[in-house]
Symmetry: C2
Subunit: 318 residues, 2 copies
């Protein structure tokens, strides 16, 4: 069995191969070519922790994947990261264990970054350049890096806004050190008005972004909302968008960014389109450069399978 | 992270420690001290395979366990074992991965053997000696070895019956080579009549054992039936037993040995008692040596957690 730790995974990671794998996973998911049983959950109240086990298989691929992800939220006070975990791959041909990827959650961060970037590329107006990232955490960095990586032919112009200006400055400095074109946005409303792509990455519990701040032609990729009570975009903005996209409609409408508009009956259960159908060409996606489009991504187990397979396929021992 | 393969697990395995852990797991399960979410299933029709992922935690223990078990039933034709898998332990305090036990299914076989032996010891008539094992496969060996190990003060007298007399002879020879007292039973009815403990380990789809073959005072541990359609004991035998015991009532009544009697409305949903309540002393169990008792064991995820913890605790690196 191949056993890779986080540095080894990072060393053999290929962004383009991972992006291809994740695009294919979105398509497979939207067209019913996956097995992804319900997520298993354990809670550890005494230690403020939890564990999610996600099992999935993409039809036609060599391996199925079990991702075990833990979050223990008092860990930082003990000098430990709050997130941990690993992905295990088994042969879909004979059931033998193939590999353990002890990524400590890094592959989840990367697949979330790539998933957002793929959505932004698929739905952004032609030739977009001005990108606003809302939030200053880990996904701020991943979303920016992944999006620039997927648009190698032009240098994007990023602005970063956060409630904490110092954290925004730190994130901007880090990304600039990678050679990216990044500035801090002092005012969220003005930053929204000037952006062609907005990527929201916050755990906001009340909407940060209002409807009349968004210019025609803007695409928004909303990453932050992943449980009831979290919401980054005004309900009115979501309800009046020209196109609503998701990775998983049931999740988005139940506990993602689209929950509020659905609860208020402002959008129907059939009012959201799977990203995979746009990537496959089965749905036209954006049809003119004045449309406002919103993608809400809550995460798919098959993305974990896809990125794990890409790591395994990318190695010298394949 | 500790990484042990099957020989290493076998080397540090301690039968008594494992039996204690499994007893405690039955008690914890019966008294609501466990987390054991629904089992996750993937199917691989093209390769005649499947995978079950079982996640569980026993309150108060240091680690939770994810067991991944695969069965690919065309493997033997390719020279591979049909079963494979591993158990992974994570800290219940900080979520870090602790150990991977690449047991290839051996720990599942052992916990099944020990579970049956624990049930037989708990419910057998005082000082039982005569044990009949029905079936000649892997669990024939494990049930016999585990039961003898749990009764170190007296040498049990085993008989083995199987549809295939040659296989029964092979099993008896193997166990005799371990120093056990074993004979082949030529006739199942006579063997049942002479036994104090009967352990059934077959995939029979119609009852092998009839009601009037069973003498007063006999205890039966039924291991084989684990899906609808499998049944080892006559429905009438089950329906008229003095005490019905199970590891998990919902499983036994839905797809275990007790399914047939429950479907015919011959036993009630509340007519079965959890083994853990007998082990804890909350239920008296057998109250006289003329009672006929039946234990149906379908397997608990917390047994996987318990035996994995016992292996981890037993090592020099603990």
């Amino acid at each position: 069995m191949i056993d890779l730790d986080k540095p080894q995974i990072q060393q053999r990671f290929d962004m383009d191969a991972a992006a291809d794998a994740i695009r294919n996973a979105y398509i497979a998911s939207a067209t019913g070519q996956v097995q992804a049983p319900p997520v298993t959950y354990l809670g550890f109240d005494r230690n403020n922790g939890d564990c999610h086990v996600k099992t999935s298989h993409i039809a036609g691929t060599d391996a199925f994947v079990i991702k075990i992800a833990t979050g223990f939220y008092d860990n930082p006070a003990k000098g430990l990261p709050s997130s941990n975990g690993l992905n295990i791959l088994f042969s879909a041909t004979n059931g033998a264990p193939l590999a353990i990827l002890r990524d400590e959650g890094w592959l989840t961060d990367m697949r979330t970054g790539l998933g957002g970037a793929i959505a932004s590329c698929a739905l952004g107006a032609d030739g977009f350049e001005r990108v606003l990232i809302v939030g200053t955490g880990l996904q701020c960095r991943h979303q920016a890096r992944c999006l620039q990586a997927l648009v190698p032919d032009r240098k994007l112009s990023f602005t970063i806004w956060g409630r904490n200006a110092a954290k925004a400055a730190t994130a901007a400095k880090e990304l600039a050190a990678d050679g990216m074109n990044v500035q801090v946005a002092p005012d969220l409303q003005a930053a929204c008005q000037g952006a062609q792509i907005i990527v929201t990455t916050t755990p906001a519990q009340s909407p940060l972004i209002q409807r009349d701040w968004i210019a025609p032609g803007t695409h928004i990729t909303a990453i932050g909302a992943d449980s009831p009570g979290k919401q980054e975009l005004a309900t009115e903005l979501t309800a009046n968008a020209d196109l609503l996209i998701c990775d998983d409609a049931a999740q988005s409408l139940d506990h993602g960014e689209f929950r509020a508009a659905r609860s208020a009956d402002l959008i129907g259960a059939g009012g959201v389109t799977a990203l995979g159908l746009i990537l496959s060409g089965d749905h036209p996606g954006r049809t003119d450069n004045a449309q406002i489009t919103i993608a809400d991504l809550t995460g798919l187990a098959v993305q974990d399978a896809a990125i794990s397979l890409a790591v395994l396929d990318g190695g010298p021992d394949h």
